[in-house]
């Protein structure tokens, strides 16, 4: 029963993707259909056009099993002989270095801002 529910809900979510893709191509905006679909679904949830129960289970499945959907692309690495060898090592080094920098910068800024906010609200409750 739950499996059937999940499948129906995925179809509902999928229809938002299709509408988003249709809007993206017909408007010519450089925004991908998936993002337009997301915004539309968010809008419909906020306006209670689509009740949460209609999509909750399906969304939980899709977001919870996200890694599974990356597997075939990851297996696709075997198609790229030219990124094996010295260039491959260089590319992996670039990706690792850049990821370290991005994560460190993002974490430090976000952590600084949240602790600052906390200490400001802390100070204001003291006064």
């Amino acid at each position: 029963m739950n499996v059937l529910k999940i499948i129906v809900q995925i179809i509902i979510i999928y229809s938002f993707l299709l509408i988003g893709q249709w809007l993206a191509t017909s408007s010519g905006l450089p925004i991908p259909g998936s993002i337009i679909g997301l915004l539309l679904l968010l809008l419909c949830l906020t306006l209670h056009i689509v009740p949460l129960q209609w999509v909750d289970l399906g969304a939980r499945f899709l977001t919870g099993e996200l890694l599974l959907f990356f597997i075939p692309a990851a297996v696709g690495i075997i198609n790229y002989d030219n990124i094996i060898g010295i260039i491959g090592i260089k590319l992996i080094a670039v990706i690792f270095l850049s990821t370290i920098i991005v994560m460190t910068v993002t974490a430090l800024i976000a952590d600084r801002l949240t602790t600052e906010k906390r200490s400001i609200s802390h100070a204001s409750t003291k006064n």
Partner: protein, 228 residues
């Protein structure tokens, strides 16, 4: 025969993934992440049995296609946590705008420094955002979309291994910072990791993943052409 081929790629991938996930849940070692073990097992299987990737992908591509609705589905965690997002709006926007610029610029500059050729750099630059959108941006700036998909995966692998180490090393405490860095640095793969830390971390990571994609589109497709 064709139907059999399709279902083997599709169901086989799901079964191996479920097995890898069980193994990871039992031992929770970083190198046992299903994102590492599952492709490794499938690749060895394809190599040993001399099966073409194209044949395997006939069935498996249906899983890749679910990345589209999965992106749309992130509307639900955002909807459920709208109050929390609004409360942290300035933190989210400031850290992600900086994160996006650093992601694009550092990929470009480090690749240049390592002497990587221009066409490959273009495929490399959008690597930190979610696959379908990274491929769009890659095509737009003159890269090769399929190559970008591979770099996105390697980034996801790198991020889900490095992320927890950085959190420990920098002693990051707030759920917002943990989630934002994982979603910004390693898209959906980072977001899966963030949900392992907790519901709140996962939510911030979902927001980061979506906003990073949007901001990268704005930066590369709208701002860059203005300067070029």
């Amino acid at each position: 025969m064709l139907l059999l081929k399709i279902s083997v790629g599709f169901i086989g991938t799901i079964l191996i993934f479920v097995g890898c996930k069980k193994l990871y849940e039992k031992y929770t070692k970083l190198w046992l992440s299903p994102l590492l073990t599952c492709p490794a097992i499938i690749i060895s299987f394809l190599v040993v049995c001399q099966i073409d990737y194209a044949d395997y992908n006939q069935g498996a591509q249906w899983l890749t296609k679910l990345l589209g609705p999965a992106t749309v589905a992130f509307a639900i965690p955002i909807y459920k946590n709208f109050v929390l997002i609004k409360k942290n709006a300035s933190t989210i926007i400031l850290s992600l705008v900086t994160g996006c610029i650093v992601a694009l610029a550092s990929s470009y500059l480090i690749a240049l420094l390592f002497g990587i050729n221009n066409s490959m750099i273009k495929s490399l630059v959008p690597r930190s955002i979610t696959t379908p959108i990274a491929m769009d941006i890659s095509t737009f700036i003159g890269g090769e979309a399929n190559m970008t998909a591979v770099f996105v995966i390697v980034t996801g692998l790198a991020g889900s291994v490095i992320g927890p180490l950085i959190i420990r090393f920098l002693a990051i405490k707030s759920a917002a910072a943990k989630g934002l860095m994982l979603g910004m640095g390693a898209h959906g793969c980072g977001t899966s990791k963030a949900f392992e830390f907790g519901e709140k971390e996962g939510m911030f990571s979902s927001v980061a993943m979506i906003l990073a994609a949007l901001l990268s589109i704005v930066i590369t497709e709208i701002l860059l052409p203005l300067f070029a």
